[in-house]
Symmetry: C2
Subunit: 460 residues, 2 copies
């Protein structure tokens, strides 16, 4: 297993001092990085945050594998009902291990399809239901709080759809993943007898991919969750070391912190050169935005901090976004995600058509072209003063994926320390939730009904 981080194109020597880091700036930041690691370690040892040790939970892994084994063959579709952190991890895993949806090919009970209901769009839900057979569908409903409106609404629909088709057996086709201690989903799961897995209280949604939240759907679609956790555990070990050379989570946090705050790069483009990492880019997008987008720092001072993450896909987005990246405002830092070894290479046939636009490509592999395009883009950006860095995964398999997830989670936690913010809450979404409850007539939210009416009145 090998994941490396190449920060050379973040340096002032490559992109100039306005846009890149000097050795003095890097040296100056190192003490802060070590302090960030130590600070986070203290909170971890106090039990505040559970994600670092999730991959060590062998009992859970075994339990999930046993459940998956028992159910295998009885379904051709896994329908996950969840949103945000309860959806993006399993999408990332499905996409990385089996490819993006348009090219996954036919599904069967030996190769079940993953359908994620992470929205309440009626047309989306109707199409999803039409595309699944209730007798061959296993439902996994995921909500830590047990009261997320989108997930509860979707689940009531799917639960009835199951019951209409298979009656009382429905309960045996539902797995709940939720808090053990609280929430209406836990109460319902107990009452109706669903197989239930629990989310530790000290693991938030966006840090939960290696808890039952990600592992249950992954195991059901055939991902080797033992290997996934093995890769992640290796990264956890590396992420606790104070040596910046071997701790890429810390090294990346340091570089990104400096380039963001000193060089005013307010946007980070996560730029995988692999369709298989497209889901992971969206998983990262939540992790980074929700953890690091904060109104206040830990002293209570208003800071309105946050680096906006963007998912771009190479080479695809070279023909969509790179014009802006090359010539627009120099407000971005680019993180290329590279896969060194394809699962299987493919050669461009020798054409000898006598046509220059084709013939130079013949006989070369698609992997070489992909690599050339990415290196060309890195170079074009760097020589235009646009800072960029590169993460290289030897291959996309369970071990690398687990390690990459864990690397980014540690990086995010360290970044929270460096910014002196709480990377683990999400107070900013509360107002919208309260307005939604009020608009849906949930009891107890009259205050927000009134506030919403005031807003509408003001708007005219």
């Amino acid at each position: 297993m090998s994941i490396s981080f190449d920060p050379r194109n973040l340096l002032a020597s490559m992109v100039g001092e306005d846009n890149g880091l000097t050795q003095a700036e890097l040296d100056g930041g190192k003490a802060a990085a070590i302090a960030a690691l130590k600070g986070f370690r203290v909170s971890f040892e106090e039990g505040k945050y559970g994600f670092p040790d999730l991959p060590l939970n062998k009992n859970l892994i075994q339990e999930i594998e046993a459940t998956a084994k028992k159910l295998a063959g009885s379904f051709d579709t896994v329908c996950v009902i969840g949103i945000g952190g309860s959806a993006l991890g399993c999408w990332a895993l499905d996409c990385a291990m089996r490819g993006p949806h348009p090219v996954q090919g036919a599904h069967s009970s030996k190769k079940p399809r993953l359908v994620i209901l992470d929205n309440v769009d009626p047309d989306f839900i109707n199409h999803a239901l039409d595309s699944m057979s209730p007798k061959k569908t296993l439902v996994v409903v995921i909500a830590k709080s047990g009261s997320t409106a989108e997930t509860m609404g979707g689940f009531l629909i799917v639960r009835e759809w199951l019951m209409d088709a298979i009656g009382k057996k429905a309960a045996s086709r539902i797995i709940a993943v939720t808090s053990e201690a609280r929430g209406d989903l836990k109460v319902l799961a107990t009452k109706e007898g669903y197989t239930t897995f629990h989310i530790p209280e000290n693991v938030g949604g966006r840090f939960s991919v290696l808890s039952a939240v990600g592992l249950v759907p992954a195991a059901l679609i055939g991902v080797n969750i033992k290997k996934l956790c093995r890769g992640a555990a290796a990264m956890t070990e590396a992420a606790w070391t104070e040596d910046l050379e071997s701790n890429i989570a810390l090294s990346s946090a340091l570089h990104h912190w400096l380039i963001w705050t000193l060089k005013k790069k307010s946007i980070q483009v996560a730029f995988p050169y692999s369709n298989f990492l497209w889901g992971t880019a969206f998983w990262f997008r939540q992790l980074w935005a929700e953890s690091l987008g904060k109104a206040k720092d830990r002293t209570g001072a208003i800071v309105n901090v946050g680096q906006t993450p963007i998912a771009a896909l190479g080479t695809t987005d070279q023909h969509s976004q790179v014009q802006l990246y090359m010539e627009g405002p120099n407000d971005k830092v680019y993180s290329f995600w590279v896969v060194e070894k394809a699962k299987k290479q493919i050669k461009i046939p020798k054409a000898k058509l006598g046509l220059d636009g084709f013939d130079y490509l013949g006989g070369q592999s698609m992997g070489k072209l992909l690599d050339a395009e990415r290196r060309a883009t890195e170079a074009a950006l760097a020589t235009s003063g646009r800072p960029n860095c590169t993460f290289t995964l030897e291959r996309v398999d369970e071990e690398h994926l687990g390690a990459f997830f864990q690397m980014m989670e540690f990086e995010t936690a360290f970044m929270g320390e460096l910014l002196n913010i709480d990377a683990f809450d999400q107070e900013g979404v509360e107002l919208g939730k309260k307005f939604t409850y009020a608009l849906m007539g949930r009891a107890g939210w009259d205050e927000f009904k009134d506030r919403f009416a005031d807003y509408e009145k003001k708007r005219g």
Copy 2:
């Protein structure tokens, strides 16, 4: 057909003067908006830009419909090979009319699948080939220049894959969409006898969805391209009027220009509350980024202008990005895209579980929940001083989609005038292309081989 634009949450009265527009600012901008319309009209009449009248090309529409009719039933997959503007339009159309891929359900020769090869990732290509049957696949290769490396490489592979399976008949299963006057693809298409459609010289990739580029794949998967163009034509008519009330392309351009330049909103979030408009958001992302991200203005002055577009999906991204949007830097403007009428509504069953987290939802429709979530998010953003606006489409069908595309193309063209930049070139991608040619050993690019070597040497 009805598309409306609601700018009320962009006003200073809603979000404060630091973040919203005053009446004086709006009044002050109106003359510039009218001048932008007139300026673009002059260029259009000179024949510089062809997109406004694309929907009026009845002969082309008939020709494409005839081709689609002739081939119908002989394929279960349409394989488009194209990238950027040659891929995003047909993705937008497929997604809008038939749903996002995971829930499209089974495909057949009556309901062919659209596979878009818009990348050179070998694993992606291999998976795509494995998922298609060459005897049941119709290939559409799209490249205006006829020399795009990704498309030419992908086409050589798919062409051989076809020939291996069906020999000389391959040529009858390939449609080329390219420039009439130039390019190696045109030469090959003529030599091998592919059915060929042409892209007008004055229509660039990102403005080409209503040319053969978008219409051919759309017709092949059963989209009614006549209705699509009818909707677009109606918008063209509206977009040439000087009345800001009835010209939403111009009104939106004016508002977005002012909020971007006066209130420093450097990011625009395109925020559809419909999974069916997800592809359209990515189409818009290219249109906006590539057209308006420019190093120089028309006087040659260095401006490095560009508003970074982001695609977000409601409600899904409320649980991923809204924390950042509510509490992070106030550097964004949000454009909500709303669909008023679902294709089919779906009700949340009455549950009466005695559980507050479920029971208030029972008996209400998913559409109501989706609407409440979006209105709640708009209100939460506005009351936090975050400017936002709303486009409402009565429904997602061909007419509305065509009109919406055309509205955004006009808006972008007007915005180019307002910024005094050339919205129709893309010089910024040339350097990366040249480095790629050099790295792939294409003849004649030695200068860039040397420049790349210099870059690598400097990087160490």
